[in-house]
Amino acid sequence: MDITSSNTTWTDICPINDLTPDAGICALYNEQQVAIFLCKQSSNVYAVANFDPFGHANVLSRGIIGSTEDIIYVASPLYKQRFNLATGECLDSEEHKIKIFNVRIENEQVQLKEAS
């Protein structure tokens, strides 16, 4: 499978059972580290880059999921900056935004696709 095609197609990552509700995991996708979260209350799945631009380490999948008003975010385990899981925007600093990925559950599989 080459990279151009995977940009437009969905790639299987892991069975849905590998996700822990309200916690994250990290997946390797197109040579990128992607943090995937399953939110139990909304049953939504989110995928964002695993790299913490403040701590300069690949750790966001190990952060805590939280909400403020209607925004669902992950707080970095290093210095606690919060990133909106739906948009990648940082709630604590406008200059920082992390990459987001398309994610879905299909046939009990978690699938990723580059966001257009």
């Binding site: 990290c26 580290q33 952060g63 939280g66 909400s67």
Partner: protein, 842 residues
């Protein structure tokens, strides 16, 4: 108009207050320059003794260079003003500096009086007035076993407390027949003496020292007029203070017969444009040795210079309330029976050691004075009755009789006070001022302190200020909120109660029960911590996993590059050579950076997520358990070897330390908790700097509580003495659980204790006398925790399901390629782009 040039001689508490006031009046009008003989700008002398409980010179500072510079105030430190030239309006300093003035303010305070006893000027003889003095005293303390304070007045007792804190055997030598002769009557003085002696401090009254000579068993020997003597290694003189009126004497400014610069109601001296304020000033033949009257003088002088002649100094109240060596003492008004016809009521409880005396006018309608020792709850009420000259209740004795059970304390509520009533005399804050502050939006003590400064001086008014605040808030219909975050309208303590009472076992249940939203990085770990403290379930259960803060989440402390540290438990710091070899082998195999920690165990850094289970398997197989270095929980019990090896040890401190560590290991609490156990009073384990500290004595264990190192060091308070092993366990069980139940999120025991209303005495009431009737519950909770202990790493490596989380990628065996290391001193360090690694290489 050109600026008025004001020179302030002395930058002590009152000099600074004056400067602060005058620039507040109109900063554009004045040019201010101040001189200090000391090496620092004004600091809080009233709180000087806190220097011994960990406050630093910065903590005590009342101002700083930046503030003065911002406001255009010039200051010269370390330079004493030695002469005044009234004709040319100049001041002249020791360094030869000459500065002109339009107005001159003398705020030179006072100096300690050292009685002319031969031998009083030796190396380890000190006074107690400045931070420098206290630094010298600390140094002497390091090489002394016995210390003596000469003088049993208010300051002498404070100095005595300092000696106790320094850990030397403490003696107080007083010339008069009773302690605190100025403030207390005979009854109060003798009860105080008894209480102080109960604390192990030796009190010698009616002793006049005649000479200080070389000692035989100690450094010095003090000979007394009655032929007796006392050996000691250091001496602190606290025999009273004398107004610092040297400049006035030299230049002819009128002074009083027994010293002090004479001032009028505007604080003007006998020389034109020269004012004197604070402890150097003599008003109507009276020196005010307290800070509040000095502050009033500062305001009066500033107002007068500003053209206001209506504000006058008309004397001040000398009532005092203090805690001396942990004993509450208060004195109000005139207590020495000098008021004609006065009558008194006395309440003396020899069992509880409480003494109260109320002196009333001949007709019994007004209060003259009061003395309180051992229980000063009535102080606020009595002081207000006196200050506002209020009419006494029909039967005044109720004012000092103990209130029987749940009843409202006798006397009057704060609502009865007029708005003009002075609540805080240090900062001249009235009840009306507090009302205004509340109306302007202030709703807790912190904000009240910030906006009015009330209760930030001697602290004597704190309780009263809080009562006024609360009653104001209540009357405005406020509810005081301490919500943990937006998801729960409860404080940590309230959440803990809800969880305990409703037996809630998961975060989701709690959210449904009383929260909203998804939770956040504040409430989730806090709740996880409470759940763990009450039910002690495995923290990586599915229901709990997503709650854990960074470190608990993977049972290791996350380091800056995302790798983890591995810290096996070594109870009491004891480890067998074989154990040490296993640790070394593991560190070598996984190339972990290895360091011995301050908590007497070994830290291994740089383990990657997927390596953690393999590493821990090897450690667990070798008999190690998790050290919970990642948890807000018991960390380490530091100890010395005690009487097993040490020549001085009186008890088996290492054995007891291991018992304690094994009992409380793993228990989650609002913040981390450390213990220290020393085998004798030499205190090699530094137990007083820990949350729980134990020091062995011949009579048993002394239990200290609330110590802290770290950011804000504090010595623990002595909770109880001469305890058996069993008593220690019981009391620690109770205190520990009580802390878990009631502390705030991330509140160390030291801060919790300081915020606990009633402090250590209240804690004693709860723990020793079961005043809340909860000890049985507390003990049962602790027992269940101890019984449910599990090594989290052992549970984890035995569960294939849980191990799934311990790999970097869910869908690949690859590892994190973002990590890079550099070798320094033969070991690995993370190489992140922003670290200046070169700094680390010498």
């Amino acid at each position: 108009m050109s600026k008025q040039r004001i020179v302030v001689v002395g930058n002590g508490m009152v000099g600074h207050k004056f400067i602060d006031t005058i620039i507040g009046n109109d900063e554009t009008k004045y040019e201010v320059i101040t001189f200090s003989e000391e090496s620092r700008l004004a600091y809080d002398r009233v709180q000087l003794s806190y220097f011994f409980s960990g406050k630093t010179a910065e903590d005590l500072a009342l101002t700083d260079a930046a503030y003065y510079e911002e406001n255009g105030i010039k200051f010269v430190l370390n330079d004493k003003v030695v002469d005044l030239d009234f004709d040319n309006r100049n001041v002249i300093t020791a360094s030869g500096r000459v500065e002109s003035y339009d107005k001159l303010v003398l705020a030179t305070g006072s100096y300690p009086f050292v009685p002319p006893i031969p031998g009083n000027d030796q190396e380890h003889c000190h006074v107690y007035r400045t931070i420098d003095d206290l630094e010298d005293i600390t140094k002497s303390g390091e090489t002394s076993k016995i210390g003596v304070v000469i003088g049993g007045g208010l300051l002498g007792l404070e100095a005595g407390n300092a000696l106790v804190n320094l850990g030397v055997e403490t003696h107080i030598v007083e010339f008069a027949p009773r302690l605190m002769a100025v403030q207390l009557d005979d009854g109060g003085g003798s009860l105080l003496k008894r209480k102080i002696e109960d604390l192990g401090v030796h009190v010698h009254t009616e002793k006049a020292t005649t000479e200080i000579v070389a000692g035989t068993t100690s450094r010095y020997r003090m000979n007394f007029a009655d032929g007796s003597h006392l050996e000691t290694d250091m001496i602190i003189f606290s025999a009273g203070i004398r107004p610092q009126d040297e400049l006035a004497r030299k230049t002819g400014i009128p002074i009083g017969e027994r010293g002090g610069i004479v001032i009028n109601n505007h604080c003007e001296t006998g020389v034109e444009d020269v004012y004197a304020i604070g402890e150097c000033a003599l008003w109507e033949n009276f020196i005010f040795g307290l800070v509040a009257p000095g502050y009033q003088m500062a305001k009066v002088a500033a107002a007068h210079m500003h053209g206001d002649s209506d504000t006058e100094f008309t004397g001040a109240d000398m009532s005092t309330k203090l805690k001396l060596l942990g004993i509450d003492v208060a004195s109000i008004g005139e207590v020495h029976g000098k008021t004609p016809g006065a009558q008194s009521y006395t309440y003396h409880d020899e069992i509880e050691q409480v003494y109260k005396r109320l002196i009333v006018s001949a007709d019994g309608t007004k209060m003259v004075g009061a003395v309180l020792v051992g229980d000063v709850e009535a102080y606020g009420t009595l002081l207000q009755l006196k200050l506002n000259d209020m009419k006494l209740p029909a039967n005044p004795s109720v004012l000092i009789l103990p209130s029987s059970g749940g009843e409202e304390a006798a006397g009057m509520g704060v609502d009865a006070l007029p708005d003009t009533a002075a609540i805080c005399s240090c900062f001249d804050v009235s009840k009306g001022d507090i009302k205004n502050a509340v109306a302007a939006g202030c709703c807790n003590m912190g904000e009240l302190k910030a906006s009015t400064k009330a209760a930030t001086g001697c602290g004597g008014c704190t309780a009263l200020a809080k009562q006024v605040l609360d009653s104001e808030l209540l009357s405005l219909g406020f509810e005081v909120k301490k919500d943990i975050c937006e998801h729960f309208a409860y404080s940590r303590q309230e959440l803990a109660d809800i969880i305990r009472v409703k037996k809630i076992k998961t975060f989701s249940e709690l959210l449904v029960d009383c929260g909203s939203g998804l939770g956040c990085e504040t409430c989730k770990p806090a709740v996880a911590n409470i759940l763990a403290a009450y039910w002690n379930e495995y923290v990586l259960e599915d229901a709990h996993v997503g709650l854990q803060d960074t470190n608990d989440n993977y049972l290791g402390n996350m380091q800056k590059d995302g790798t983890y540290s591995v810290v096996p438990r070594m109870p009491g710091g004891e480890v067998t050579p074989d154990g040490l070899i296993v640790i070394g082998q593991v560190a070598k195999e996984f190339n972990l950076y290895t360091k011995v920690t301050g908590g007497a165990r070994v830290d291994l850094f740089g383990a990657q997520l997927h390596e953690l289970p393999v590493i821990w398997k090897k450690l667990v197989d070798a008999g190690f358990e998790t050290g919970h270095a990642y948890g807000k929980s018991l960390r380490t019990v530091k100890s010395c070897v005690g009487n097993t090896w040490c020549r001085y040890g009186v008890k088996n401190s290492i054995g007891f330390a291991i018992d304690l560590e094994n009992r409380y290991k793993g228990l989650r609490s609002p913040h981390k908790v450390k213990f220290g156990v020393s085998g004798c009073t030499r205190e090699c384990a530094e137990a007083q700097g820990k949350d729980f500290g134990l020091i062995a004595t011949e009579g048993g264990w002394n239990l200290y509580f609330g110590g802290n190192g770290g950011m804000r060091p504090r010595h623990g308070d002595l909770f109880a003495s001469d305890l058996t092993d069993e008593q220690v366990r019981t009391y620690v069980d109770r205190i520990y659980m009580f802390y878990i139940r009631t502390a705030d999120r991330l509140q160390r025991t030291s801060v919790w204790l300081e915020n606990l209303e009633g402090g250590i005495e209240y804690l004693r009431e709860v723990i020793l006398n079961d005043s809340l009737n909860i000890n049985a519950e507390l003990e049962a909770e602790m027992e269940s925790n101890v019984a449910n202990y599990q090594c989290e790493w052992k549970t984890t490596i035995e569960s294939p399901e849980k191990l799934k989380r311990f790999k970097h990628f869910i869908n690949s065996k690859e590892v994190d390629t973002g990590l890079a290391f550099k070798v320094i001193r033969g070991q690995r360090f993370p190489l992140a782009k922003e670290i200046e690694i070169t700094e680390l290489v010498e």
